[in-house]
């Protein structure tokens, strides 16, 4: 399949991005499409490996070699079918997935991996464009009712799968729009929100009922959930952020990322917001070097920050991984996101000691440099410094789902990390007929993992309700 010697003849070309100065002027997506012919050439680089490491590198096991080959042959329609057979929402993953598949690509051993993510992106965009993405309405209804609580990628995937198996699915969302983190956590410049709306329309046709502004445990009694449904799947995410308990934390201008990011998305969506936290004309410090941190950086830059600084507690990872010892695993290495490219100062091994401010508003961050030895950190004496900070964004990750409310009311058991306890075969919590999947079960993770868990949980629930399941895991 593919072209046998394609990888030796063709160089990797990824989707081109708009130049920084252009893209930071709006919150729109900034990757440009490539021609079908160029995409086909990129598909030809795929070696149709005897063992496609990409496929297991991918949490949802996308059948990558097959669609690479189909794209090489310009058979987009079939490529779309193959892609959809493992992935409910390739337009999400094709945009925001860090692409562990490419890390696992065999070409990545000693060459540039196949542009798997861009090919995926192109296939699904073409699919929508051509009108090939249609609802898959179940032939028969089972009469079983399933509640899915939390409409992030896990909840969406789970709902869609269950609906396709013929169950009546109600998807609960505490916010005013469906999508969870996809909707409010991911900035529009990484993924515009009409992608979610389009999917919702498909899901609605397939029989999913969306109930927004229904905060189970708050607006909707937990008891009713158990009474009205034959099964419930908890896909509420991992929303309890890690705190930075240092003096001055209480100052105004210091926010968790998820206090900051959703507002801009709401503005982009046309909502009227009063008192939006904005980086405009401010010195912004983002604490935390992960993806959320990056999202804060990109958003701040677009909002018109004067400076953006990014501190990370951990030391700087190597620029290049030691491939012989890491491939095909996801390697620890310095990752420069598109937001980093847009202009920010990054520093590593920095601990924030305290904040100080004027009139209850933060103005300065006091920090110290660290030395890491055998996984233990130590402050380096004499390296204390301070930096101007009008807006501090805390993006240091999430500890576990919010326990208060629904979870505690249900009385589900937690694992040692505070996540809802359930295995990855049955996805069953300690409460009968209550299941859990996604970040709520596994802790903070990638969208692609959420989709995987949503799909697998759907299989488990279907099996629970019917006694067997044809839903692909």
């Amino acid at each position: 399949m593919g072209k046998v010697t394609g990888f030796m003849e063709i160089a990797r070309h990824d989707l081109p991005a708009l130049p920084v100065e252009e893209r930071v002027r709006s919150f729109r997506e900034f990757y440009l499409p490539l021609s079908d012919a160029e995409m086909a050439k990129q598909g030809a680089r795929c070696m149709d490996c005897g063992i496609p490491f990409c496929q297991t590198g991918c949490p949802i096991n996308n059948i990558i070699p097959d669609w690479n080959d189909l794209v090489y042959r310009q058979n987009w329609r079939e490529a779309l079918d193959v892609l959809h057979s493992t992935n409910n929402f390739p337009e999400f993953t094709g945009r925001i997935c860090p692409a562990p598949c490419e890390a696992a690509c065999t070409l990545n051993i000693n060459d540039d991996p196949v542009t798997i993510k861009s090919i995926e992106h192109t296939i699904i965009d073409k699919g929508w464009e051509m009108g090939w993405v249609l609802p898959q309405i179940p032939a028969r209804k089972t009469g079983k009712r399933v509640a899915v609580v939390g409409s992030g990628p896990a909840g969406m995937a789970c709902s869609q799968q269950l609906a396709r198996a013929g169950h009546d699915v109600v998807l609960f969302e505490k916010n005013d729009r469906i999508g969870g983190l996809l909707r409010y956590g991911i900035p529009d410049f990484k993924m515009e929100k009409h992608h979610i709306d389009r999917r919702m329309a498909q899901m609605r046709s397939e029989g999913v009922e969306f109930r927004v502004n229904q905060h189970v445990g708050v607006d909707f009694p937990v008891k009713k959930l158990l009474e009205e449904f034959d099964a419930a799947v908890l896909t509420g995410g991992s929303e309890h952020p890690r705190e930075l308990p240092v003096p001055g934390r209480e100052l105004r201008g210091i926010h968790f990322a998820m206090e900051f990011l959703p507002l801009q998305n709401q503005v982009n969506a046309g909502d009227k917001i009063t008192g939006q936290i904005t980086a405009k004309d401010k010195h912004v410090v983002v604490i935390g070097g992960g993806d959320t941190g990056s999202d804060c950086i990109g958003t701040s830059i677009r909002q018109g920050a004067i400076t953006v600084t990014n501190f990370e507690l951990l030391p700087q990872p190597p620029l290049e991984e030691n491939k012989p010892l890491t491939w095909p695993d996801w390697p620890m290495k310095l990752r420069t996101s598109s937001s980093h490219e847009e202009g920010c100062y990054r520093d590593f091994s920095i601990a924030t000691r305290r904040f100080s401010g004027v009139k209850g508003h933060v103005t300065t961050l006091h920090a110290v440099r660290l030395e890491w030895k055998d996984g233990k950190m130590q402050e380096i004496p004499g390296t204390e410094f301070e930096i101007k900070a009008d807006l501090v964004l805390l993006a240091m990750g999430y500890l576990h789902p919010v326990h208060e409310g629904m979870l505690n009311q249900l009385g589900v058991e937690y694992d040692t990390r505070g996540n809802v306890k359930a295995d990855t075969i049955r996805y069953q919590t300690s409460i009968p007929k209550v299941f859990s999947a996604g970040d709520m079960r596994r802790g903070q993770s990638l969208v692609v993992w959420a989709i995987r868990e949503g799909r697998q949980a759907a299989h488990a629930v279907d099996d629970f309700l019917i006694g067997s399941s044809d839903l692909p895991r």
């Binding site: 490996c49 063992i51 496609p52 058979n75 065999t106 044809d470 692909p472």
Partner: protein, 1561 residues
């Protein structure tokens, strides 16, 4: 008492093979004398080296002699005991082996007498045969029967001797049946070697020389005969029995019947259809004609006896059983072809290598199989003696008395009629038979050729969609991608690479087609596979559809109609013809279709009943006159399940066989399930005469993206059929079977994972060793597949199952090598991280969730007395037991190859060159730290080497291609491995395409860059067990310091082959699993041939221990070895050592791309592409780390089991248990009792390697030669030596050559430095591996394998001056001369046998005629043939040139023109003019002169040399009339070679002036 062990564990005495030396002497005029008998015994003696002994050197495999009834002796000795014989010819003598327990003996004697009386004859009396068992082995004594002769008087019911003979045959069969019915505990001792009025057999479990001393009769001068047929057996087992010694009643056989199972079945199937006017009602008394559990020869003998009793002449019967290859032979005359064609419908050939000597006491003769795979030479003297034997020199016949020396040619028969007093040669014999009846007219009148019948439209209408039906038959996406599309595109099966690491069907969680439970069997050692491509002329796919004629209907004058198809895969049109055959054949045939579908509502439990109904319907249909049964599953639908076509086919076939109805009808299978070669082979193997794969065709019409865009449906079907046909021929040839007719019903398969009840009922006679599923589970799998197909599973709504068999796929089949296991192993080895290794090992070892291998289901017990790990043998000792697999430079890169060698030498393990030689640069010692590139060329990724490292591969492989197998190569080995088979493709050869033959690879292989290289399927010097003994002996002679190893692949019966190999004196035997890797092999071979090593290894251990041979031989297990646990299981099952291939490659960077065959390995391991090779990152250290991890893991197990030393662990299968928790729905039926069986033998019998083989090298003539050549060896001074020689002096010159190569390398000494003149008949392998500087001049004759591996030496052989024969019309050397010759010269005054100069790489040879297949696979050198050549000349010849004197002008018809062109030899003047001259010296393989500039001079010089060295009159004549003869020479020039030479010449011309080129040539 019968000591031969009974069937136990995996050991089954029925699996033994034999071959041997055979010979006879006869007086043409029928003059009887005792001398004939004495000479017969003398022949036997001189064939000793073709036999073998068991653990006890006195224990022979059996020998015997058949003579004419010696009336002159019997009459007086009977008179002495009061038995009065009637007139000669009117009494019969029975030689009878009787049980030793008096009661049993009495019972047998009573039965014997009773049967004689019942058949109307009378008993004259018994005579005790005097024997002397002094000196025979203890084991033979323990089994020794009481031997008596019974004398039977002809009764009135037999008016003549012929009828008496027939009656004696009937009596013997009845006695045998009756004694069996007595069920005596020692009944097996009862046996009648002969009962005849014409012949008498003396045989036993004896050594050759013991026959004459054991039977005192044979010493009696009164004992006279005009013929003596003798045989020395080489049995793979050391439990030969008294009765299995040859000769049998009518034959002595050297060879093996490959199609035996089918032949036995077909004979049984004929029972109802057979009638004989001569035998009348006696015919019924013969059944069962062939008893199960005899040797192949015994069965053959039974069939021959029947045919002769039924009225065929002896020679005619032989031709029926072993016909000449007629179908593909355009040279055969029309009448003879008609004769064979007519006969073909009567009986399927008994196919296999065979030299059969036969006699009925009046005539004696011999016949050779169609492919000439056994040697048979004869001579005739001026006083009417004929001596025939497997080799010449067995009897000292004065040369001046010999008038003819010749050989039996392929498919030919040679008969001496003692009554007529003359020799009837093949041509006359067949002319007589062909002319006897109007065969051509009969055929014209009775034959319907399916292809020629008017086409009939035929479409299968189905309500179910294509996709649903594909799914119902278990199609996967891979079937389209890997199977159908490549066949449709290129007309060939697709090639894949690496090994099979997915589970056996019975262990797979996925429903598997029944086909997958069967593994193809293949020929190894005891018989050769055939090259179905290069030796196509012997192959035939012709199939007869419909009833078979009465085998014994010799008086028939109106033969019934016969329906023939050229090949068994029927197109829709052909199928239409079958369905309308009644109209098309005027009612001669009637087909009727039976559906093999049954109501889906009945589910899995309904299948057994459905089969019963099917039986009933089939039987009824046949009885009602339907003579072509069509079994069809075209009715498959949501509510209609198809019984697996294979099951239905075999079940109906066997049912009809049992009912004796099978030959009354044809069996055609119309199935949607058949798509790949293996499946067609199975249907054929279980009885299908033709197959209509309708769904495969429909799929071909809808291949979509998988097929080339411009490929039309018709063309796709045509190519697909061609691919299947080629594949079928390959599967057949793997087992050495050449005709579809014989393959049909031959059941050349082994079941893995099916239970005995199921197999015995539906696949009767198939081996199945570990039990498994039965009819219910088979049905359940079918039902599951059916449900999935017609259900509404979202994944299968629009798509086929992904498969995942051929490449790893999520949602597909499981594999051992997964992304995770590969990553862990690589990380562990690179970082030397034992924790990561443990994670890796855990992934492989713990198969609790996903069952993968048999060993995964074993539990390793723990001792109640574990020991501390510190007390266990250290890892650095254990790693010495490890070696890497045979991966050639060519299959893997220089970097990957040398890295393995360095690593293995560092741990004192062994690396293996693989097939394809080794760069002598690698033999150099590394004395100082440095870089790899300092030592060898062509390194693209340099690595450091340390002082004391070595690049030399300890194991040097000797494979069928013999590429680079020089004497120097052989002497630089610690072990010489004869690769008989390879796990990924047992029974197949290989091909390295020209574009992969780089300059460096060509240099190492001694070939020409850019010219493709073919490795033949068989070693052409190993067609049988005694041949491998010879090759082992050859190799041992060249390098006495190296051990010799034989690599086998696991299949049922490999244990007895291993025992045979051990008896053939191999020091090592490797049992490779079916799952071993490859650089390129057809997928069906990777997937479906051979069995897991657990089975083969356990069988080997059990057989060797039972045979008390285990101590002498090191057993190595090989095949997907990955962890210490694998090693431990291997050791517990009996392995001393272990071979690893894939795992170390993974350590070097391999990621199982499975692209080796495409040369695109992206990590530089299995590629020759320079850019890709640069990506190689492997390091010797990584490999070393890996092996130490494995050894440490082994130690942990040993500690837990309480073993301090590795040896203690070997063979302790009692430490293994079946995992308790197997609740898998299929695997739960597995039963490993047979694998874990430990033979009950005394404690002193060795269970592991602890002794040495006795190679008998001290007997070599070379010791004397080496002593006399001291001056040359030490001081390069010329020496001249003279010596007599005889046939027992084998492989003369090889040991001396080894000495030369050790000292002087391949360069050797100046020509003629050691000049040896010998007189007499040389034994086998004369001048093998003769090094440069040695000249052997032989006055006399040579046997087989003369000049094998010639490495620069010079050979000349010519007959003695006093021998009156005309040399150019007589044979001078035997078969397979100059096999694998590298360089050197040879001159033979006389004719050579078959396969002259096969795989010649560069030697020069002049000979005066050759047999069939001359210059086959030749890649270099120059061969001049001054006489007749046989058929199929130059098959697979890719290099070198041959000059053939074609006086009759018909050479072209006998030449295989697939790869060569024929041209005239250009006259010198013309050539000189064109090219401006050149030198005449012509050593070396790259001979730029072969472009043509001085062909004439080259030819003339070679003929001059021939005259000079041999005194050839023929040469003289030609030279004297040069202008007359020159135009008659044909130059045979390989096309690819010509192109490569031109390219080289062009390249050289750029670098050097023209004159210089020639000199370098």
């Amino acid at each position: 008492m019968n000591l031969a062990p009974v069937k136990q564990g995996l050991y089954d005495p029925a699996r033994e093979h034999d071959a041997c030396g055979v010979g006879f002497i006869a007086h043409i005029k029928g003059n009887k004398s005792h001398t004939i008998i004495a000479q017969g015994l003398q022949i036997l003696n001189n064939l000793t080296h073709r036999g073998a002994t068991g653990w006890d050197p006195l224990l022979g495999d059996g020998a015997g002699i058949l003579i004419q009834t010696p009336d002159a002796f019997l009459r007086p000795v009977c008179r002495e005991i009061g038995v009065s014989l009637s007139a000669p010819g009117s009494y019969g003598v029975g030689m009878v082996f009787l049980p030793r327990v008096p009661e049993s003996r009495a019972a047998c004697e009573r039965v014997t007498e009773q049967m004689i009386a019942e058949e109307g004859q009378s008993v004259l009396g018994w005579r005790d045969v005097p024997t002397n068992n002094q000196g025979i082995s203890q084991d033979a004594k323990l089994q020794e029967p009481i031997i008596r002769q019974i004398f039977v008087n002809r009764g009135d019911s037999c008016p003549d001797q012929d009828r008496f003979e027939r009656k004696l045959f009937v009596i013997r069969k009845r006695i045998e049946h009756a004694v069996r019915a007595l069920r005596l505990s020692d009944g097996k001792m009862f046996y009648i070697p002969s009962l005849s009025s014409r012949t008498l057999v003396y045989k036993g479990m004896l050594l050759a020389h013991q026959v004459g001393t054991y039977y005192l009769d044979l010493q009696d001068e009164r004992l006279v005969s005009a013929l003596a047929l003798v045989h020395q057996r080489f049995s793979t087992n050391t439990f030969p029995t008294w009765e299995l010694a040859h000769p049998f009643r009518m034959v002595a056989h050297n060879g093996e019947i490959n199609t035996l199972r089918g032949n036995i079945n077909w004979m049984a199937a004929r029972r109802q259809a057979m009638q004989s006017a001569l035998l009348g009602e006696d015919l019924e008394k013969l059944w069962p004609l062939i008893i199960e559990g005899q040797s192949d020869t015994a069965c053959f003998d039974n069939a021959l006896e029947l045919l002769v009793a039924g009225g065929y002449s002896l020679a005619h019967a032989m031709m029926l059983l072993i016909p000449e290859a007629w179908a593909g032979n355009p040279l055969m005359d029309e009448r003879r072809r008609a004769f064979y064609e007519y006969q073909a419908a009567l009986m399927e050939p008994w196919d296999g290598p065979a030299a059969v000597a036969f006699t009925d006491g009046r005539q004696i003769g011999a016949t050779l199989d169609r492919n000439g795979l056994r040697p048979a030479r004869y001579l005739i003297t001026d006083d009417d003696l004929v001596v025939m034997a497997s080799e010449m020199g067995v009897l000292d016949v004065p040369q001046n008395k010999i008038v003819k020396k010749w050989r039996l040619q392929p498919g030919k028969t040679f008969l001496i009629d003692l009554e007529a007093g003359r020799i009837i040669d093949d041509a006359e014999l067949k002319e007589q038979l062909s002319a006897a009846k109007h065969y051509r007219a009969w055929i014209n009148q009775s034959k319907l050729a399916l292809e020629e019948l008017p086409a009939q439209e035929y479409h299968i209408e189905s309500k179910a969609s294509l996709l649903d039906r594909q799914q119902a038959f278990g199609y996967t996406q891979e079937d389209l991608k890997f199977i159908l599309a490549p066949m449709a595109a290129v007309g060939e099966e697709a090639v894949g690479s690496m090994g099979n690491d997915s589970p056996l069907a019975v262990l797979s969680d996925r429903p598997k087609p029944l086909y997958q439970y069967f593994k193809q069997m293949f020929a190894q050692v005891t018989n050769p596979p055939i090259d179905s491509i290069r030796e196509e002329s012997v192959m035939s796919l012709v199939t007869f559809i419909g009833p078979r004629p009465n085998l014994l209907g010799i008086e028939v004058t109106e033969p019934g109609a016969r329906l023939e198809a050229k090949q068994p895969v029927l197109s829709a049109e052909d199928m239409g013809k079958i369905l309308h055959i009644a109209e098309l054949s005027d009612g001669a045939f009637r087909s009727c279709t039976l559906s093999i579908c049954y109501p889906a509502a009945q589910g899995a439990t309904g299948m057994e009943t459905a089969l019963e109904i099917l039986y009933h319907k089939a039987e009824k249909a046949v009885r009602d006159g339907c003579n072509i049964l069509v079994l069809s599953d075209r009715d498959i639908a949501p509510d209609s399940i198809a019984i697996p076509a294979l099951l239905a086919t075999s079940a109906v076939h066997h049912h009809l066989v049992r009912k004796g109805l099978r030959t009354s009808t044809g069996l055609v299978i119309e199935t949607g399930s058949a798509r790949e070669v293996h499946q067609y082979a199975l249907l054929a193997g279980y009885g299908a005469e033709a197959i209509h794969p309708y769904l495969a065709y429909e799929t071909l019409a809808h291949l979509g993206d998988f097929a080339p865009k411009d490929l039309g449906y018709k063309e796709a079907v045509k190519r697909y059929t061609k691919a299947i046909n080629k594949g079928l021929l390959k599967v057949m040839s793997k087992m050495g079977i050449s005709t579809y007719q014989s393959y049909c019903g031959a059941q050349i398969f082994e079941a893995v994972g099916l239970n005995t009840a199921f197999v015995q009922k539906y696949f009767t006679g198939t081996a199945s060793q570990v039990e498994g599923i039965g009819i219910l589970e088979v049905a359940e799998e079918t039902v599951r597949t059916h449900k999935l197909a017609f259900g509404d599973h979202p994944l299968f709504r629009n798509a086929l199952d992904p498969g995942g068999e051929y490449a790893y796929r999520v949602r597909g089949e499981e594999h051992m090598w997964t992304p995770e296991s590969i990553a862990k192993l690589q990380h562990a080895a690179r970082a030397n991280n034992s924790r990561t290794y443990r994670e890796y090992a855990k992934l492989i070892n713990e198969q609790s969730k996903h069952l993968m291998t048999l060993r995964g289901l074993f539990e390793i017990k723990e001792s109640s007395n574990p020991i501390p790990i510190e007390e266990v043998e250290p890892a650095k000792e254990i790693v010495k037991r490890f070696s890497t697999g045979a991966m050639s430079l060519g299959s893997i890169s220089q970097e990957a190859h040398t890295t393995l060698a360095i690593a293995m030498n560092r741990i004192k393990g062994k690396s293996n060159t693989g097939e394809g030689g080794e760069d002598p640069q690698r033999y150099r010692e590394i004395r100082a730290d440095g870089m790899l590139a300092d030592y060898v060329q062509s390194v693209l990724v340099d690595i450091p080497v340390k002082a004391g490292d070595s690049l030399r591969s300890a194991i040097k492989q000797v494979a069928s291609g013999r590429f680079g197998v020089t004497t120097e190569y052989l002497v630089n080995a610690d072990q010489l491995q004869i690769k008989i088979a390879q796990g990924a493709k047992p029974g197949e050869g290989g091909q390295l395409p020209g574009h992969k033959v780089s300059a460096y690879i060509a240099q190492v292989r001694h070939t020409v860059p850019g010219v493709g290289l073919i490795s033949p399927p068989p070693h052409h010097d190993i067609y049988s067990i005694e041949d491998i003994a010879q090759l082992i002996h050859d190799l041992k002679n060249v390098n006495p310091g190296a051990s010799v190893s034989v690599k086998l692949v696991s299949e049922v019966g490999v244990g007895t082959v291993a025992a045979g190999v051990c008896k053939a004196k191999s020091d090592y035997v490797t049992i490779a699993g079916h799952d071993g890797g490859t650089g390129a092999s057809p997928w069906s071979s990777i997937k479906h041939a051979g069995t897991p090593w657990e089975l083969g290894l356990a069988e080997t251990q059990q057989t060797l221990v039972l045979n008390r041979l285990r101590g002498r031989i090191t057993v190595q297990a090989d095949g997907q070895m990955k962890t210490g646990r694998d090693v431990v299981v291997g050791a517990l099952l009996g392995a001393d050592e272990f071979g690893f291939s894939t795992a170390p490659l993974v350590v070097e960077g391999c990621i199982m791309m499975r692209k080796c065959h495409l040369n695109t390995c992206p990590v530089g391991v299995a590629t020759q592409d320079p850019e890709l090779r640069k990506k190689f990152t492997g390091q010797p250290e990584h490999v070393v780390n890996y092996f130490f991890f494995v050894a440490e893991e082994v130690r942990e197990y040993m500690a837990r089991m309480g073993f301090r030393t590795f040896n203690e662990m070997i063979g302790r299968s009692d430490m293994l248990d079946t995992k308790k928790a197997v609740d898998h729905w299929k695997a739960k039926g597995l039963d490993f009792t047979k694998i874990f069986h430990r033979p009950d033998v005394p404690a002193e019998v060795a269970r592991y390697h602890c002794e040495k083989q006795n190679h008998g090298l001290e007997k070599a003539l070379d010791h004397k030669l080496i002593a006399e050549a001291k001056a040359a060896l030490e001081h390069r001074q010329p020496v001249a030596i003279e010596s007599p020689i005889r046939n027992t002096n084998r492989v003369v010159g090889a040991m001396l050559s080894g000495e030369v190569a050790k000292r002087f390398g391949h360069q050797g000494l100046p020509d003629d430095t050691i000049y040896i003149k010998l007189k007499g008949t040389a034994g086998q392998s004369f001048g093998a591996f003769l090094a440069r500087g040695i000249t052997l001049e032989l006055v006399g004759e040579g046997n087989d394998y003369v000049g094998k591996g010639l490495s620069g030496g010079r050979l000349m052989i010519y007959p003695p001056a006093d021998c009156p024969i005309v040399p150019e019309h007589n044979i001078i050397v035997g078969n397979v001369v100059l096999y694998g010759a590298i360089s050197g010269e040879s001159y033979f005054r006389g004719v050579a046998g078959e396969r002259f100069a096969v795989r010649n790489s560069g030697a020069i040879a002049v000979v005066e005629g050759v047999g069939d297949h001359g210059c086959e696979y030749m890649t270099g050198g120059t061969v001049v043939i001054l006489g007749y050549t046989g058929r199929n000349f130059a098959a697979g010849m890719s290099g070198g040139v041959a000059f053939v004197l074609d006086e009759e002008g018909d050479f072209e018809r006998r030449c295989n023109l697939a790869m060569v062109e024929l041209e005239a030899v250009p006259e010198e003047a013309q050539a000189m003019e064109e090219l401006g001259g050149g030198s005449l010296e012509s050593h070396g393989r790259v001979n730029v002169k072969q472009l043509g500039q001085s062909d004439e001079r080259l030819l003339r010089v070679l003929i001059q040399k021939h005259l000079h060295y041999t005194g050839s009159q023929r040469a003289k004549e030609i030279l004297e009339h040069w202008q007359k003869y020159l135009p008659k020479f044909v130059k045979v020039m390989p096309t690819e070679y010509r192109r490569a030479l031109k390219e080289m010449a062009a390249a050289q011309e750029q670098a050097h002036p023209k004159v210089e080129i020639a000199q370098h040539g």
